[in-house]
Amino acid sequence: VTVSQPSLLSDDLVRALMAVGQVDVLVGVPTLNHASTIQPIVRAVSEAFVRYFPRERTLLLNCDGGSTDDTPAMVRGATADASTVTMHHRLRTEHRITAPYHGLPGKGSALRQILTVADLTQAKAVAVLDADVTTLTPEWIAALVRPVRSQHYDYVAPIYARHPADGLLVTQLVRPVVRAAYGFRVGEPLAAEFGCSAKFLGHCLEQDVWDSDWAQYGIDLWITSTALAGGFACCQAPLGPRQAVTPDRPGFPEIFRQIVTATWCLEQHTAFWVRRAGSEPLPVVGAPIGTMAEAPVQDGARLLRSFCSDLRNLEDVLSPIVGPETLQGLRAIAAREDAPRFPDSLWVRTVYEFLIAHHRGVMRREHIAQALVPLYLGRVGSFLTEYGSAPPTEIDAALESLGLEFERSKPLLTDHWVPTGER
């Protein structure tokens, strides 16, 4: 653990940590200009400490990336709801630290600081929260921490009460890839919120990833995949509906982020996943919280039309990335004027070939990612056209079918994947 690096923990932070001493539960919240959302989150954490962890030594650590909107002051100034304080007596001193993080700008550096502080304070359980969330309640913290504290899990992934037609980047791309590659069915492999143990965070800190650019935008998936590949005891915890001020935008930046991250993770864990076959579910700890969100309103037909018109311009770019069979399939979809459909098998093949191309670096990586965007929109448009108004159970069945297709077709990935050291 590199706590001795002067750039990682400032003298002020170390002095504050001396006062805190050992903690049982640490909640970390990275921020960057989150003044509009941070106070309810701090209040929720504070209430969670009082309600659910009255005996534990707790710390709320805010790692700020240089906010210009007074976010750290908002963190310090947030006070718990008076009725909660009255109803739930606090046994211990409440500790709340806000500190700037140093190093590369991005979530990876913030998370590294959180985990380093957790390691230094010997935290037994850590929960990391996203400052963008507007629906976070004290129960989220309890749900993420309790499996670690009381059931000895090392990593707790969240389950959001979301409609199955929502979060298509996850359901169409990241979730099935993780399922097929790592052999575990994780509902939210991209989640910004998670819980973890001292053992797992120690393992994470030992990995030589923190100074890479990838860690700044792909750390969420790396955390999940590292827990799975490292043989840690993993589970999932229902949290309830999740809404954020910055919703997922399935555009180029996000696609780029995920394709790069997925490749990076697969490259990191090749020795683990190439041997895996099939998949198993992660246990769910805790009762569902809240009701499922409404189905999002999305225009699948428009996305499909966009795909059909864009494909012609992309063929030159696509040919070094995907095989002839895949390209032919894509052309066939685009050529259909009535109800074009992007089948599971073709989507799986497309994704795998993109991952391999990206892994091999057949062209500039950002160009590869950019090329996937219209294909992803085509797939999403097709899925929405087919299932957009279907009942949730039917959508779930379709997503399960997609997951199985990724598993069945995994040799397409493993057969062409060259371990990083052999390239």
Binding site: A19, P54, H89, L91, R92
Partner: protein, 544 residues
Amino acid sequence: MTIDPLWYKDAIIYQLHVKTFADSDGDGIGDFKGLTGRLDYIRDLGVDCLWLLPMYPSPFRDDGYDIADYCAIHPSYGTLEDFREFLEAAHARGLKVITELVLNHTSDQHQWFREARRSRDDPRRDWYVWSDTDDKYAGVRIIFVDTERSNWTWDPVSRQYYWHRFFSHQPDLNYDNPAVREEIWRVMEFWLNLGVDGFRVDAVPYLIEREGTSCENLPETHDVLKFLRRRLNESYSGRMLLAEANQWPEEVRHYFGDADEFHMAFHFPLMPRMFMALRLEDRKPLVDIVERTPPIPESCQWGVFLRNHDELTLEMVTDVERDYMYDEYASDPAARINVGIRRRLAPLLEGDRKRIELMNGLLMSMPGSPVIYYGDEIGMGDNIYLGDRNGVRTPMQWNGGWNAGFSTADPERLAQPLISNPLYGYQSVNVDAQRRFDHSLLSWMTRLIKVRRSTRVFSRGSITFLYPANHRVLAFLRTLDREQVLVVCNLSGTAQAVELDLRALAGALPIEMFGRSVFPRIGELPYMLTLGPHHFFWFRLRRV
């Protein structure tokens, strides 16, 4: 020699049970002659006031708190003449003596109750609280929840229910009856005329009953207490009344009145919070309760304690705090009784010398007059399997010989069995052994008391908490006029560093009070201290 009428404000009180302190006649029961023979020990410890548990004739169904005659000495303890001699000997050594005054109830064997229950027309009938039904004062809490199901008990003799807040064999006196007040005053006069210096008044919140109330802390109860205090003031000076009112500080505050009720009252909620702060390694509970404590009249004083003859009461804590205390200090269910924990100080702290020292250091530096429970100064153990609270009332351990030097009787005949286990037994924990060494707990306690008594700042000074960022460090200033003492305690079992903001004291020179070592002068920068596990400092701040 002139006696300071506010002597109790500076007192260090030693609480003991005559029955288990020293037996002079070999009958297995402690007595006043035995106690008189041990007064030098008590004086040498450095305390200056004795508080005696009930010494009256009693059927002993509540260890003497069930009094059968208020104006006599239990024959097992000796005679009134023995008591007089004891009192004279104590006074000769500069030791004040306060005795128990159980106001709220008598034994059902007391003559008053025997007469009262004879018939409904008996003149004594109205000295107690009677009812044809057991539904009056519904909802009033039951104190001894482990043994009693109701505050009413049916009297088959006079065919009515009688009221009792404690055990069913302890009927409550009826203080609405002026004759009862007068008679209780005559009891007080009796002992005051013998020379006792005050009374620890038992169970004061419960004297009066009123429908629709909790029957606790009622204004009429305060009227009774003001009556007794007025009578005391009229005829006696330099005497003291100490209230046992297990209530929140703001409630207890009323028992001081306008300095016209009690001179002293125990601070019950502080006690469990000292233990809580230690186990949590967090000053918060302790600071919270002291800050919640209202100011009291200038002539009044709090009584502070770590342990006493009762259970470590957990009535004045929240449910969360009570659960925590049970889990941390009474994992063995046998250690729990009523709403508390029946353990002595040393076993509560697992015999850890550092924690015992820290807790006594806290006790001696908190605002109030500290009370030491007999035997805790040598780290005596307990026996939670003896029933009721008898496990913390075992014979004083004077030496490693026959019956620990307590009695020459056959061991089987002792009033209470001795503690004899290898950890806390009298063979290893006793006065004689600890007298031999400067580093023993007894020697340390003697030094602690001496240092405490070297200044009145602890007994009469104000308290101001400092709030260093390190919550494991409790730091406060005690101030009396120009004198200041800085107390810094590490509540944690690991070494701690702390930065204190002492800019307001810039220029002062801290002198550690036990070794008189001079520490660096206080300046404008944060004052850095490091403390070993459970270590504490008392600094006298001097401007040289």
